[in-house]
Amino acid sequence: MTLLFLAFAALLIGCALMVILHRSPVTSALFLVLTFCSLAGIYLLLQAEFLAMVQVIVYAGAIMVLFLFVIMYLNLKRDVEDGMPHVLRRYVGWAIGALLLVEGALYFGKHWALGASLPEPAPEVGNTAAIGQLLYSRYLFPFEITSVLLIVAILGAVLIGRGRVAPVTPREGGQP
């Protein structure tokens, strides 16, 4: 069990590093897929089978496919260096990274004792029926709010999509 956890954790961290270190956007995206899959592996070890499978279906199977779709559609071969000056961007990156590292160290030092890395799985949580019951009773409000948020996002996407098409149509109306 510990061995499997270590393997998945190493894979997770390795792939996550490759996501930010690799130059090609498509390869980065693929490593992100692997990251999600190893995260699903860790969920499985925690006996959260439903969560693990939904992680693969939603993140690896749907969201990342759309990401890849967009990257391929735009045919980004390399990441382009523009916008902020390169040097400035690098320093800002280092600063934010250092800040996050300190913050993380402080937080984990305070709240987490090393050693108890695997929480004892409750016998019934992780079970699909239990998740359903919790979602529709105790967590009903956040659940519904999330769905409203998603609908707003969908409406926004439709609006942006429409807005782009509308001015173009009359101009190119003469073409078949």
Binding site: V26, T27, L30, V33, E49, F50, A52, M53, V54, V56, I57, A60, G61, A62, V65, L66, L68, F69, M72, Y73, N127, T128
Partner: protein
């Protein structure tokens, strides 16, 4: 047990034994599946031949039965090349990605009632299938992208758009079955479909979900989306020869092309297995003793695979906009409505009973 006693002590530990047994089952099922796949290709050529008033392959071996072996041998000896400017690593990984998800799905399918006839009974078996079918998009998409060829890229993009669209309707069409069965375990779903109900008090019909009105509708939607998910005609736009040369596998030759072919048929097989399990009662059936019930599973599987081949040689290909309209404007709303009505019916039954 005698065999277990003869093994060294290390091998009799429960964990190790579990892994060993699973390995043996995986190897056996892999072998069986690959054999069925190669003969499914043969069956397709034979059926296609007879539908077009030809005889199909009949030269190699008796009735042409050794044709699959000859085909594979030919594929292995063909020249293999990698196009210039292809992304080498992804180009080599993509064919494997097209096959593996379909084979993983096989690991959760109950071929028979005995625990030996399924690799493992996961309590989220159906989700494993949905996860694998969503991962299956990558093989084709990446193959199209990494070949550095316009036609291949267009084929890959088309396939990812098509598979994402139909995945939704497919996932949702399986939900009425879940509502009836109340479990995600495929073995549990099969066990719920055992036995018979007397229709009008006389005619006994099996308790398979396809014989309930909602199950029938869901089965219809599932089979249509299954055709689209496996890129089979009439939804084979990703490899439309006339427009895209051959689509995502234009640049592949030799056994890499063979792997895509294998992947397509392995997908057909795994999706037919799932349809059998969810809607056709799995290994349940009359007459046979319990130990031979798995024959029912393979009989139903054969009928479904024949259906896939039949459709392919009967219907013309859809246009891209027709494909998207069918998926989003017909199949998705109908399957959503199906869930709603099924849930209401189950709720009322619960209230009255």
């Amino acid at each position: 047990m005698i065999a277990a006693l003869a093994l060294p002590a290390f091998l009799t530990q429960p964990d190790v034994l579990f892994v060993l047994v699973a390995m043996i089952k995986i190897v056996v099922i892999l072998f069986v599946v690959l054999t069925i796949v190669s003969y499914a290709v043969f069956a397709e050529r034979k059926v296609a031949g007879h539908m077009q008033a030809r005889t199909g392959p009949n030269r190699v071996g008796p009735l042409g039965l050794l044709q699959p072996l000859a085909d594979v041998g030919k594929l292995f000896f063909k020249e293999e090349f990698t196009p210039d400017g292809a992304n080498k690593v992804i180009y080599h990984i993509a064919p494997a990605l097209a096959v593996i998800p379909a084979l993983v799905t096989m690991s959760v399918i109950p071929f028979g009632g005995h625990p030996w006839l399924m690799v493992t009974d996961v309590n989220v078996g159906l989700l494993v299938f949905l996860a694998m079918s969503s991962i299956g998009v990558y093989g084709i998409t990446l193959a199209g992208w990494s070949s550095n060829n316009k036609y291949a890229l267009l084929g890959g993009l088309r396939s990812s758009a098509q598979m994402i669209s139909y995945e939704l309707a497919m996932g949702i069409s399986t939900l009425p079955v879940l509502l009836f069965a109340g479990t995600l375990s495929l073995n549990g779903i099969v066990e719920q479909q055992a036995g018979f109900t007397k229709l009008l008090g006389v005619l006994p019909i099996p308790n398979w979900y396809v014989f309930t009105p909602f199950g029938l509708l869901a089965f219809g939607i599932f089979m249509i989306t299954a055709l689209a998910e496996t890129n089979r005609a009439p939804f084979d736009l990703p490899e439309a020869e006339a427009e895209l040369v051959a689509g995502f596998h234009t640049e592949y030759s030799s056994m890499k092309f063979g792997l895509f072919f294998l992947g397509e048929f392995a997908n057909v097989l795994s999706i037919c297995c799932i349809a059998t399990t969810l809607f056709l009662g799995g290994w349940n059936g009359p007459w046979l003793p319990d130990s031979l019930k798995f024959l029912w599973f393979f009989a139903k599987l054969g009928v479904l695979v024949f259906f896939f081949i039949w459709v392919r040689w009967t219907y013309p290909r859809l246009r891209y906009d027709q494909l998207m309209n069918l998926g989003w404007k017909v199949l998705l709303p109908v399957s959503l409505l199906n869930i709603l009505i099924t849930a209401l019916v189950i709720f009322w039954r619960g209230q009255s009973g």
